[in-house]
C-alpha cells in the first residue's frame, strides 16, 4: 500500500514498471491515469488545492478498505496538487490482485472515492475567467454502487 501526494510531475509508465516488479505473480494489474483535458483549447491551466493534514490519512483509509474488500496484493495512489497544464498527469491509481475482476473493481472504487471523498479542489483558469470545478451528481451517484 502506497500513497503519494505531491506537486511534482510523475511518469505513469515508470510507476507501472516499478509497481509490476513489486507484485510479480499477482496475475492482474490495473492502472488508471487521469490527465488534464484541454477542453477544446479553452483551458489555460488548473490549480489543485488540498488539505494536507487530511489528504494522506483519507486516501490511506480508502486504500485499506479496497485492500480488504478485494484482497489486493498491492495498491498505489498518486495525486498531484498545485498548477497543472493540459496534458499533465493529475493522478494515478494501480491495483494488483489474483483476479482481474477484483483488480478492476478496486481501481474503480478508489477512483470513485478520490473523486468525491479525498480533499482536493480544482480551479480552472480559462480565457473567460477562473472557476472552481463543481462536484458532479454522477460522481456522487458512482459511490452508491460500492
Amino acid at each position: 500500500m502506497s500513497v503519494r501526494v505531491q506537486s511534482e510531475p510523475f511518469d505513469p509508465g515508470k510507476e507501472l514498471s516499478q509497481f509490476s516488479r513489486l507484485v510479480s505473480g499477482a496475475g492482474a494489474i490495473v492502472t488508471f491515469t487521469g490527465v488534464v483535458r484541454d477542453e477544446d483549447g479553452t483551458l489555460n491551466h488548473m490549480m489543485i488545492e488540498h488539505y494536507p493534514a487530511m489528504t494522506g490519512p483519507a486516501i490511506e483509509a480508502i486504500e485499506k478498505e479496497a485492500i480488504g474488500r478485494w484482497n489486493l496484493s498491492a495498491s498505489l495512489v498518486i495525486h498531484r496538487y498545485g498548477a497543472l497544464s493540459p496534458g499533465d498527469q493529475i493522478m494515478m491509481v494501480a491495483t494488483a490482485s489474483r483476479h482481474r475482476a477484483h483488480a478492476f473493481a478496486a481501481a474503480e472504487f478508489l477512483m470513485d472515492y478520490l473523486k468525491s471523498r479525498a480533499p482536493f479542489w480544482k480551479k480552472e483558469f480559462t480565457a473567460d475567467g477562473a472557476y472552481w470545478v463543481t462536484a458532479k451528481d454522477e460522481d456522487e451517484d458512482a459511490l452508491k454502487r460500492w
Partner: protein, 86 residues
Amino acid sequence: MKKLMIDLVYFAWVRERIGISKETLETNAQTVAELIDELKAREERYALAFEDISALRVAVDQELSAFDASLDGVREVAFFPPMTGG
C-alpha cells in the same frame, strides 16, 4: 460552559469568500452547527460563505462529519465545498 479554542481552516471558494485560510477561535459553540451560526453573525463575508449549508462539507479533526457533530475535545474544523479530486 467551557470555552473551546478551535482552529478553523477553509478551502476553495470558502477560503476565498472568507479571505483567510486559517484562524483560531475561542467559542462557546457545542456543535458544528452552533459554530456556523456564531461565524455567520460575525461578519458579512462569513454570512456569505455559510449562506447555503447544502453546498458545504465539514471535516472535524480531519474526518468528514455531520453538521450536528459535537465539538467536544475537537482541535480543528475545516469547511469546504464538495471535493473534486481524481
